[in-house]
Symmetry: C2
Subunit: 413 residues, 2 copies
């Protein structure tokens, strides 16, 4: 493979995570510190708000900013895409050829030969399309996707950067909520709603405690299994018979056998003061159902946004790996990888060992990886030991930001 020398551009896209900036740190370090990066890449641009910033030439030169090592450390622990993100999906090659021509023009103008895109499914689609177009125009480039999503639902990779930190926040918060719920003696049911519209990976993290001598919810439900009200009531009843303080974890994406989201149930008829239909979460629907059925105290909680931005409690494993994956992307690109996505390949869980690799992005984009069958128990209300063994290494170790005046210091461009 010939040595390709030129400039590089890096961007972030899709929903924010607590590790997406750690991967950006890795790309910056890959360019500034690895032999391959130093040899091949002269200037490293950051595109603001992903591909939108590229199209509007909203680019910032990154090397100068990060000569100060301290900025890299702060950036590593900063949640959400520091360069800004977008939801833009590139058009089809056929119908949207103008967009691709414009990008090519910008690449030529800035002598950009390396394109790193940190994102989820849609971003991998962008990577696939861009690399196909550039190849068709014989513009030599190395276009690489680097995954990120708290949902952990990308195929081909063992897990996704950002999942470990979200999973650690959920596993930790569940421990705290269970302690909080345990203080009174009166029967009460607390239903905790966890992110994950299409896959139960995040909800699964709530349940790891039971395999390591810690607390765990009385039942945990996943979108991968039909949600059945009778089984749910039976689980709640059995739990209430054991102890007064019942805690249930549910994925936001749980569905009935007929395909309706459980969260949809609330919509029928409910209208607020403004005449809007009320869109509820699954936990709120189940809160009302339990209240109706058992008459006991019930409360629902959505863990909400902090699941994807609680950088104050990072998984050390996740953040360190995310940095290393970014570095590895630069090396892989310098060595010739193009149109591929970086990925983790697990060598072993105990001791935990993961390798970096890359694979053709077109087989990855637009696929969703569900929670494996062998990771869900037979009664569809909890995880298996195998699942805990999969998750536990990913939440190992604590990574904390620096604080100033009692609040965390984050990096802002």
């Amino acid at each position: 493979m010939n040595k390709l020398i030129g400039n590089a551009v890096v961007g972030q896209s899709g929903g924010p995570t607590s590790a997406i900036n750690a991967t950006l740190v890795g790309v910056i370090q890959g360019v500034m510190k690895t032999d391959e990066g130093k040899e091949c890449i002269k200037t490293l641009y950051g595109m603001k708000h992903g591909i939108e910033g590229l199209l509007s030439e909203d680019l910032i030169s990154l090397k100068e900013i990060f000569e100060d090592e301290k900025n890299l450390t702060t950036l590593k622990h900063t949640p959400a895409a520091a360069l800004g993100s977008c939801r833009k999906k590139l058009p089809d090659l056929e119908s949207g050829i103008d967009t691709y021509e414009k990008i090519l023009e910008i690449f030529k103008k800035y002598d950009i030969r390396y394109f790193f895109y940190i994102g989820g499914n849609d971003s991998m689609d962008t990577v696939a399309k861009l690399s196909r177009f550039m190849a068709s125009r014989n513009y030599e480039m190395r276009i690489l996707g680097i995954p990120k999503t708290i949902d952990n639902d990308l195929v081909a990779t063992d897990h996704t950067p950002g999942y470990g930190t979200a999973a650690k926040f959920i596993a930790t918060t569940i421990q705290e909520v269970i302690r909080d719920c345990a203080v009174y003696r009166i029967p009460a049911v607390t239903i905790v709603e966890i992110m994950g519209r299409n896959a139960g990976w995040l909800a699964a993290a709530a349940d790891v405690g039971k395999y390591v001598g810690a607390a765990s919810p009385d039942a945990t439900y996943f979108p991968e299994r039909d949600f059945d009200m009778d089984s749910f009531y039976a689980d709640v009843e059995a739990a209430l018979a054991k102890h007064p303080n019942v805690v249930i974890a549910v994925s936001e994406g749980i569905k009935f056998a007929d395909g309706r989201y459980v969260g949809e149930g609330q919509q029928s008829g409910a209208v607020d003061v403004f005449g809007h239909k009320y869109l509820s979460g699954a936990a709120k629907v189940l809160e009302n159902a339990v209240k109706e059925k058992f008459g006991c105290k019930v409360r629902s909680i959505e863990l909400s946004l902090p699941q994807r931005c609680a950088a104050h409690l990072g998984s050390k494993t996740d953040l360190d790996e995310s940095v290393e994956l970014g570095q590895a992307a630069v090396v892989a690109a310098a060595e010739g990888a193009n149109g591929e996505m970086m990925l983790y390949r697990r060598v072993s869980s105990n001791p935990y060992k993961c390798e970096f690799a890359h694979s053709d992005v077109s087989s990855i984009a637009n696929e969703v990886k569900a929670l494996s069958d062998e990771f869900i128990n037979d009664t569809a209300n909890g995880i298996t030991k195998e699942c805990a063994e999969y998750i536990l290494p990913l939440i190992e170790g604590e990574a904390y930001p620096e604080y100033k005046n009692g609040i965390p210091s984050f990096f802002i461009f």
Copy 2:
């Protein structure tokens, strides 16, 4: 003052906090390690579920458990009342004399001469009544209340144990949410609901960033000021004109001028599939109002339970002080304090210095301390510099629990 020698009992009551166990640690250390505690107190009992456990003689001897220092450290970082809590309020002395006679009998049976009650307003009421009764029966005792509440709404004390940690979690989470919201370029309003039914102390913590060069919400609203929809719309409009990503913080207890809670607005007419009236939070109501008025993307978040149990991010100042206040309570009791509540007296904010004191509990119980007038800005949508100077020392320093298998280790009796 004569030296009173006997046994002691300690209990926790009211809503959980992340620091209520730190105060328990302090009482245990006060008994086991201070000269006064060692001289005067032989056995230290913990009552399970507060006064209910005392009445049912559900008592556990604490010294043996905590000879192992490690247990004390774990307990200090455990959220929610480890001994269990209750919401029981003792009856009036006149009508409920039997209850008091029973308690006296139990005190005599266990030779209990010291009673430490860690709790909020209702718990201070229990302390006041108990000490009055015991004095009336000439049963010599030292009955002390030790405050705790995340709400910071107790009078007489500069602040309450537990507030600092809740405030730190809120101040930190707001920084993270603002970063998360900043990633896109399309106009969007995010409304964050913060605990505090009667006082705006917790919401105030969301706004400290602006006085220390960090981020802060575009507007923050408190229950101490009438909530006016027109002013709110004007604030949102002005913020949207400045930047696309608007973040608003509201106290759950904000009210309209006519006394109705903003959260009540949602109830009228909204009925769910089970025919229940839907009770919403203030943020949800404002989400719908902004959607109606501005037509932009709007989202509401309740920070919910983690505000009072997120022990994974303790304020070091809060937890250390809470321990010391518990120790000071034992010393004060041994020296003769009775029918009083322990309290903080601030000597200075910069450098921060607080002293421990105690004061007659009957003047404290059943009073609510609102956010001071000089702490709210003239436009009633943010805090003043004086308020930030008050709050900042209380969230200073990070106190982290120990982790095992990636999740925090908590103490369970």
